[in-house]
Amino acid sequence: MTEKQYQFGGLSLDPVRGGTSILVAGPSHVGTKELAYRMLVGDDDEGVIILTTNATAADITADCEAVGIEVSPDRMGIVDCLDSDDSGVPARVLTVSNAQDLTGIGMRYSKLYSDFHAEGVTAVRTGLFSISTVLSLTELQTVSRFVHTLVGRVSKVGGLGVFLVDPAMHDERELRTISQFCDGRIDVREGEAGPELRSQGFLGQSSSWTPFDPSVAAEDD
């Protein structure tokens, strides 16, 4: 069986093998969130699960559509920690009452993944948006176990994990600990001509700063 590769259309990132988890670290105002969303854009037969700690399911849906992810219940699941009104959201939405409930988040994630898998959607991109919220509410050691378990789950099923974090909100040692659970890390900064990304730690990626356009949807490239 051919090993699944996850492509990142329109981004200067090489494909990664299934089971890879990546920390995406950067300030929110330079397109870090948009980059993380764009990394979830995949082929039509792939699924997407987003764990949202600080945005409603409706906001997540809008952000996904903005980067070219087709949101439908067949392919998209959301774990919403704001317990928001999800009526009209064209995705499978499971809610928990708050972002401190890591057990509840993990259980719902497992449920969404199992349901997709049972329906034949075996390649799933998972976004955790964002670790910063979780870290601001829960002690590092517990968040570490949560991230480790999630990375393990992504690895076991050959998925892709994209974990968003804003470095300005955290001590570098905290950030380094979280990144040590991931297979690689992408840093984002405001360059002279606009946003730039730099990848490190995973398969054959360059480590130099490379410009990217956060506003361009993958399907337009």
């Binding site: 057990t103 509840g104 993990g106 719902r108 497992s110 199992s114 050691q141 949560f146 690895s155 600990t177």
Partner: protein, 295 residues
């Protein structure tokens, strides 16, 4: 590998136990929280599989208790309780895997997930080195008859304490779940769970790790063990094999915040290298003796 399996329903427990045994696990089955606590007190387990609703509590209560004893324990909530019935907000800080007992192929998924999580140690609350399996093999290879090195390691920690003018110096080796201290000067410790030791993080770095004040470091500021021992300053140099595996750490501790300059880091690394050389000589001696016995 030994699994603790807790399910109050006899039929369900029997079926799950059977699936686990067929997969090669040894299983201790229990029907209640109290019974499971007794089993945990009696021995260590590689994994815990529990229903949520138990006659005298919940499966999450049990995970909370179990991790007090075994912080690295892999835990899976295997339940047919709906999300509305599971009070996941009742306990802070519990992270478990979950398998819906009611789904098709649930027991196969449970076995698969449990095996993966145990093999990959994917529920620890601390990062693991890239090749943890190879590192543990190296620990086993080198830290075999370490008692024979007691005197020389003790001399080194004595020297270190005087050289760096610190409260304590130790040599510890990081096994799968605990750090085993084999030489201590100025303190007296045997084994400490890895999630509670600074050395767990020190082996992730190439060179020495220096924590000027543990209370200012978010990784350790909530660490009760360090607080109880009044450890503020920490410096540790990895003890590395020729293959690069960090099998242990040569550590300095103090009850006051401190620092270590470049020369100090260099000297600390030399002490760690000295320990490694001693271990290597012992290993070669063991191999030569074994070879001689074979002849």
């Amino acid at each position: 590998m030994h699994i603790l399996h807790v399910d109050p329903a006899d039929g369900s427990r029997r079926d799950t136990t059977s699936a686990l045994v067929d997969a090669g696990f040894d299983v201790t089955g229990c029907g209640s929280l109290d019974e499971a606590r007794g089993a945990l007190a009696a021995e260590d387990f590689a994994g815990l599989v529990t229903e949520y609703d138990l006659p005298d509590g919940t499966g999450l209560d049990l995970v909370d208790d179990a991790r007090e004893r075994q912080p690295d324990l892999v835990a899976v909530l295997f339940t047919d309780a709906g999300f509305d019935e599971v009070d996941t907000g009742a306990l802070d800080g519990i992270v478990v895997e979950y398998v819906d007992k009611g789904m098709a192929g649930a027991r196969e998924e449970l076995v698969d997930l449990l095996s993966f999580s145990i093999d990959n140690r994917s529920q620890t609350a601390y990062p693991l080195p890239a090749d943890e399996e190879g590192r543990l093999d190296a620990v086993e290879e080198y830290v075999d008859d370490v008692e024979a090195l007691d005197t020389s390691l003790d001399r080194l920690t004595q020297l270190a304490r005087a050289l760096f003018d610190v409260e304590a110096a130790t040599v510890g080796f990081l096994e799968a779940h605990q750090e085993r201290f084999v030489a201590c000067r100025g303190t007296d410790v045997g084994r400490i769970d890895r999630e509670d030791t600074v050395c767990t993080y020190a082996i992730l770095d190439e060179g020495p790790t220096v924590i000027p004040d543990t209370r200012d470091d978010p990784r350790f500021s909530d660490n009760d063990r360090l607080s109880a021992a009044e450890i503020r300053f920490y410096a540790g140099a990895p003890i590395r094999t020729n293959g690069g595996e960090a099998i242990g750490v040569f550590c300095l501790f103090d009850t006051e915040p401190g620092s270590l300059d470049d020369r100090g880091r260099e000297l600390l690394s030399l002490l760690a290298d000295e320990v490694m050389d001693n271990l290597d000589v012992r290993r070669q001696l063991r191999e030569a003796t074994a070879g001689g016995d074979d002849d």
